[in-house]
C-alpha cells in the first residue's frame, strides 16, 4: 500500500477520528435524535416509527411482568430472555415522562448494544488487525454512524443485540478468553439460532498455530485436533445452550420450544421476501403431496446453505482470518436461507468493518462501488416488484418477484466470491 501524501493541515475528518470521544458521542447523539424523533412521530402520526416487533417484545414483557408466559403474546417467537430484558418497559409509575422513558428503555438498550458492538469492533481492529486507533475508528464508524443500523435499533428491533453478541464472541475468541467465548456462543445460539455457524470456524481457527513437527499419521492428527481449549469451548458453549434451554423449558414448557425453535422449522408463512426459494415455497405449500415434479429444491435447501456456511467456508478461511471467515459464513447463510428479510442483512453488516481494511472493494474503488451499487439495485428491483404486489395488488409473483430474488441472489453470490478471494489471500 502506498502512503498517501501527508496533508498540510489535519483535516476535520482526521481530527474527528483522532480521539474516541467525537465518534462515540456522535454515534450516541445520532441515536438520541432518532429516538426522540421516533417518540414525536409515534405521538403525532398514525404512521408509527416504532417497529411492530417492539410492540410484540413489550407486550410479551408485560405478560411476564404479570406473571404470565411471554408466549401469551401472539407472534412472540423469541427466547423469554428478551422479554425479561425488556421488563422495565412494562413498568408504570404514573409519571408520564418517566413512563415514556421506561417504555423506550428497550430501544435504549438496543442502541447501547450498537455502541458497544462498535467499540468492540475498534478493539478487534486495533489488537488483532494491528490497525492504528484512528484508522480502526474510521472502520468502526461504518457500523456506528450507519443510519440503517441506528434506525433499526431505535425503531426497537432486537437485531442490534445480535451485533454485540457476535462481536463480543469474536473479541473473546481472538483474545483467548475461551470460557467467555463459550458462554457467549451458547447464549447467542439460544438467542437467535444462526450463530451456531460460527462454532466450526472458531474450533477450526483455534488450531491455527502449526505444531513444531507436523504429525504423520491420521490417528495422531485426529488426536492433535482434540485440544484442551477446543474441548473447553465445546463444553462451555454446549452446557450454556443446554442449561438455558432446560431452564426455559421448565418455566414455559413446550410453548417455548414451539415458538423459539420449532416454528422456524415448520413455518409455512412465505409472505414474499428476498429468498431465492420464496416462490418455490409458496408453490409447494399449496401442493404438498405433489411429487410428480421429482426432487424439490426446497426440501434440500439446507444442504448448500449448511455445507457452505458450516463446512467449506470455515475449513477454507477460518485459519486465514477468523473475522473474514465469519463474514463469509454469515453472508452465505443469509443469502442461501429459505427466508430472507432486510433485518438479516444486519447479521453480516456488523462484521463488515473487520473485513473491509485491505479488501479488494476498498483497494479497487470501481469494484467496491459496483458491488455496493449492485447490492442496492438488486434490492431496489425486488422492492419495486414487491411494492406493485403489496400496495397496487398486481400479481408480480411470477416472473417479477421470482426473477428479482434470483438476481439479488446472484449479486450476493458474486460479492461472496470476492470476499472469499480476499480472505483467502490473508
Amino acid at each position: 500500500m502506498t502512503k498517501p501524501p501527508t496533508s498540510p493541515a489535519p483535516s476535520l475528518l482526521t481530527t474527528f477520528f483522532d480521539r474516541p470521544l467525537p465518534l462515540y458521542l456522535t454515534s450516541a447523539i445520532l441515536r438520541i435524535i432518532f429516538l426522540i424523533y421516533g417518540l414525536w412521530q409515534d405521538a403525532n402520526s398514525p404512521v408509527k416509527y416504532t417497529d411492530i416487533d417492539y410492540l410484540v417484545f413489550t407486550d410479551a414483557a408485560r405478560f411476564v411482568a404479570q406473571g404470565h408466559s411471554p408466549y401469551a403474546r401472539e407472534t412472540y417467537r423469541y427466547t423469554p430472555v428478551l422479554a425479561w430484558l425488556l421488563l422495565p418497559t412494562a413498568k408504570q409509575t404514573g409519571n408520564r415522562y418517566l413512563d415514556v422513558a421506561l417504555f423506550s428503555s428497550g430501544k435504549i438498550l438496543f442502541a447501547l448494544a450498537d455502541l458497544v458492538a462498535g467499540w468492540l469492533l475498534e478493539l478487534i481492529l486495533t489488537r488483532s488487525k494491528s490497525l492504528p486507533p484512528a484508522t480502526a475508528r474510521k472502520f468502526a464508524a461504518i457500523w456506528l454512524l450507519n443510519p440503517m443500523v441506528a434506525t433499526i435499533s431505535t425503531r426497537g428491533s432486537s437485531e442490534g443485540l445480535l451485533g454485540v453478541l457476535v462481536t463480543a464472541l469474536l473479541w473473546a475468541v481472538l483474545s483467548g478468553r475461551v470460557t467467555l467465548a463459550g458462554l457467549l456462543l451458547g447464549f447467542s445460539v439460544h438467542f437467535k439460532i444462526y450463530p451456531f455457524i460460527y462454532a466450526p470456524a472458531i474450533i477450526w481457527w483455534m488450531g491455527r498455530q502449526p505444531a513444531a513437527s507436523p504429525p504423520s499419521s491420521i490417528a495422531s492428527r485426529a488426536l492433535g485436533f482434540i485440544t484442551l481449549p477446543r474441548l473447553q469451548l465445546t463444553a462451555v458453549s454446549l452446557a450454556t445452550f443446554v442449561m438455558l434451554n432446560l431452564s426455559m423449558y421448565s418455566s414455559y414448557g413446550p410453548e417455548f420450544l414451539q415458538h423459539t425453535y420449532l416454528h422456524h422449522v415448520t413455518r409455512i408463512d412465505h409472505r414474499h421476501n428476498f429468498s431465492p426459494y420464496n416462490s418455490q415455497l409458496y408453490l409447494s405449500s399449496v401442493f404438498p403431496d405433489l411429487s410428480s415434479s421429482g426432487l424439490r429444491i426446497e426440501s434440500v435447501a439446507f444442504l448448500p446453505q449448511l455445507l457452505l456456511s458450516c463446512v467449506f467456508i470455515p475449513l477454507a478461511l477460518a485459519k486465514r482470518d477468523l473475522a473474514g471467515a465469519m463474514l463469509a459464513q454469515t453472508f452465505a447463510f443469509v443469502s442461501f436461507n429459505k427466508v430472507c428479510t432486510s433485518q438479516y442483512f444486519l447479521w453480516y453488516m456488523v462484521l463488515l468493518p473487520l473485513y473491509l481494511p485491505g479488501s479488494s472493494f476498498l483497494e479497487n474503488k470501481k469494484l467496491g462501488l459496483a458491488a455496493l451499487g449492485l447490492w442496492v439495485l438488486g434490492q431496489a428491483g425486488w422492492l419495486q416488484q414487491g411494492y406493485e404486489l403489496e400496495f397496487l395488488g398486481n400479481s408480480t409473483f411470477l416472473p417479477g418477484l421470482w426473477v428479482a430474488s434470483l438476481v439479488f441472489f446472484g449479486v450476493n453470490c458474486w460479492i461472496l466470491g470476492v470476499i472469499i478471494g480476499d480472505v483467502g489471500r490473508r
Partner: protein, 501 residues
C-alpha cells in the same frame, strides 16, 4: 306444526277488513305492498331422521341467512346482520364441539359452500362471560343462494305441489332463520320476503294451525319511546270466519336509525385493503338522548381477509380512521398463515365508530351530514390460480347505533323478536340497536369483491427447475472460489508473485 303468515305494510297503509275473504281453510285478499314473514314451528318428530339425531344431541342451534341483495327493512322486522350464512351453536350431551356431525349435516342441507370440519376446529368461540343467552360457537360463510336448501327441503319434506311451491318461493326471500334449542324442543323456521307487492292468499294445511296477519305499522298515542306498535287484521284459518282487528305495542331491541350507509374498498386494494364506510348521518337516531348512543360496525370476515387487533389498538391511528376503539374481535386470528392451511372460518369484529363532533358537523354545509370511516384490513396469501388473481367476497358489515335504554326498561320477547345475532351478546341487556340501512354502491348486492394477487400457475412451470439451477450455480461459484483459496493461488496473487520475480 304451527304456521304464522304475516304481511306488514308501512305506517298508514291498511286494508279494509271487508276486502278480506275467509272461506274455512282459505284466506284471500287484494295484493298489498308489504313485507311477508312466514314462521313455521315444527316438532322434532316432523323432521328428517338426519336432523332429528343432530338436534337431539346439541343444546342450541341458530342459523341466520341473509340475502346479499339489498332489501328495505320494515318495522318491526328491523334486526340486521351482514349478508351470508351465520351459525350459532352450543354443543350438547351427544353432539360435542369435536363432532363432525354438525358440519356434515350443514353441508348436506345448505350445499358444499358451507364447508367446515368440526365446531372446535372451524367455528370461533363466543365470549360466554357476559350474557348467558349467547351461544358458545359462531360460524359464517358468504352464501348467496338458498337453492341447495330448497332442493333438500323439497326432497325431505314435500309430498304435494303446494309444498314445493311454498319452498321454491324461498329463492326470492331476503332472510331465513332457523332456530332450535332444547328448552322449546321445536324447530322454528322464519323466512321474510322484501317489501314489494305481495299476493295475499293462504291455505291451511291439515293437522296444522295457521294464523294469518295483515298488519301495518302504528303509532298509538299511548306508545312509549322504547316501544313499537302495529295494528291490523288477524285470522286463524279453519277457526275464524272473519278477520279480527288487533293492535299491539311492544318494546323492541331493534329500531330504525333512519339513515343509511354504503361500503367499498379504497383503490388500490393491494394486500392491505381498506374498507371505507360512508354514513349518511353523523347524528344519533331521532328522539334518543345523544350521550347514550354510539355508532358501531359489526363485521363478519371470511378467513381470506382479516383485521390486525394490534394495529387497531393505537388511539391516534384509530382516530385518523374515524374509529374510537376495537370493542371485540374473535380470537385467535393467525396474522401470518396462508388461507389454505387454516381451518377456522374467519373472524368477527365489533368496532366503535367516531362520528365528527357536533361542532365539526355544524361547520360543514350539511350539518350532521355524510361522514366516512376507514377499516384497515389485510389479505392472506391465497392458493395460486391460472390467472394470477383470486377474488375475495367481503360482506357489508351491520352498522347500528347502540343506545342504552333508561334504567328499568325491560325487553321481554316480542312476537317479532330476533336474538342470537352475534353482536347482541356483546352488549348489555338494556341496549337498543338502531340500524343504519345498508345501500349498495352500485348494483343490488351488499358484497364487496377484492381482487387478490396470487401466484400465476400458468407461469409456474419453470419455478422449481429455475430455482434449483440458480441455487446450484450460486453454490458452485462459491465452491469454485473456495477451491481457488484452498488448492491454488488466486490469479491476482499469482500475478503479484510473477511481478515480484
Amino acid at each position: 306444526m304451527r304456521e304464522r303468515i304475516t304481511f306488514i305494510q308501512k305506517l298508514g297503509d291498511s286494508l279494509d277488513p271487508a276486502e278480506v275473504k275467509v272461506d274455512r281453510n282459505v284466506i284471500k285478499a287484494p295484493d298489498v305492498q308489504a313485507v311477508r314473514e312466514d314462521r313455521l314451528s315444527l316438532a322434532l318428530d316432523e323432521l328428517p331422521a338426519e336432523l332429528q339425531s343432530l338436534l337431539n344431541g346439541l343444546h342450541e342451534l341458530h342459523i341466520r341467512w341473509v340475502s346479499p341483495i339489498a332489501y328495505e327493512a320494515i318495522s318491526p322486522l328491523l334486526a340486521r346482520l351482514p349478508p351470508g350464512f351465520h351459525v350459532f351453536f352450543t354443543p350438547g350431551n351427544e353432539i360435542k364441539a369435536t363432532s363432525t356431525k354438525p358440519c356434515e349435516t350443514l353441508a348436506h342441507v345448505f350445499g358444499p359452500q358451507v364447508s367446515c370440519s368440526t365446531p372446535g376446529d372451524s367455528f370461533t368461540a363466543l365470549p360466554n362471560d357476559r350474557f348467558s343467552h349467547s351461544a358458545a360457537f359462531q360460524y359464517f360463510r358468504p352464501l348467496d343462494t338458498l337453492a341447495p336448501f330448497i332442493k333438500y327441503a323439497e326432497s325431505q319434506l314435500c309430498s304435494d305441489k303446494s309444498c314445493t311451491d311454498r319452498l321454491s318461493a324461498l329463492s326470492s326471500a331476503s332472510t331465513l332463520d332457523i332456530s332450535y334449542d332444547t328448552i322449546s324442543h321445536s324447530l322454528r323456521i322464519t323466512a321474510t320476503w322484501p317489501y314489494q307487492r305481495q299476493k295475499v292468499h293462504a291455505t291451511a294445511r291439515p293437522n296444522s294451525r295457521t294464523e294469518v296477519g295483515i298488519l301495518s305499522g302504528d303509532k298509538p298515542k299511548t306508545l312509549e319511546p322504547h316501544e313499537l306498535g302495529i295494528s291490523g287484521l288477524l285470522t286463524v284459518l279453519g277457526q275464524d270466519d272473519k278477520p279480527s282487528v288487533a293492535m299491539f305495542t311492544f318494546p323492541s331491541r331493534h329500531r330504525d336509525a333512519e339513515s343509511s350507509f354504503s361500503a367499498k374498498f379504497l383503490s388500490p386494494t393491494g394486500l392491505h385493503p381498506t374498507l371505507q364506510l360512508s354514513l349518511s348521518s353523523s347524528k344519533p337516531p331521532p328522539g334518543v338522548a345523544e350521550d347514550t348512543c354510539t355508532p358501531h360496525a359489526y363485521l363478519t370476515l371470511p378467513n381470506t381477509i382479516f383485521p390486525d387487533k394490534y394495529q387497531l389498538s393505537d388511539p391516534l391511528f384509530l382516530a385518523s380512521k374515524n374509529l374510537t376503539a376495537l370493542r371485540y374481535v374473535s380470537s385467535p386470528i393467525d396474522l401470518e398463515a396462508p388461507d389454505y392451511v387454516l381451518k377456522s372460518w374467519g373472524s368477527t369484529v365489533l368496532l366503535e365508530l367516531s362520528p365528527p363532533s357536533a361542532a365539526a358537523a355544524a361547520t360543514t354545509a350539511a350539518g350532521g351530514g355524510e361522514w366516512t370511516v376507514e377499516i384497515p384490513l389485510h389479505l392472506r396469501y391465497l392458493a395460486p390460480s391460472f390467472t394470477g388473481y383470486a377474488t375475495v367476497n367481503a360482506p357489508y358489515p351491520a352498522v347500528f347505533w347502540a343506545c342504552t335504554a333508561e334504567e328499568g326498561t325491560k325487553f321481554p320477547n316480542n312476537p317479532f323478536e330476533k336474538v342470537n345475532l352475534g353482536y347482541d351478546g356483546l352488549f348489555g341487556p338494556r341496549t337498543v340497536f338502531w340500524h343504519v340501512e345498508p345501500k349498495p354502491v352500485r348494483g343490488r348486492e351488499l358484497v364487496n369483491k377484492v381482487r387478490v394477487p396470487v401466484l400465476d400457475l400458468s407461469k409456474a412451470e419453470w419455478v422449481n427447475v429455475g430455482t434449483a439451477v440458480a441455487v446450484l450455480l450460486g453454490f458452485l461459484w462459491v465452491v469454485w472460489r473456495l477451491g481457488g483459496v484452498v488448492f491454488g493461488k488466486t490469479k491476482k496473487a499469482a500475478a503479484e508473485e510473477k511481478k515480484k520475480q
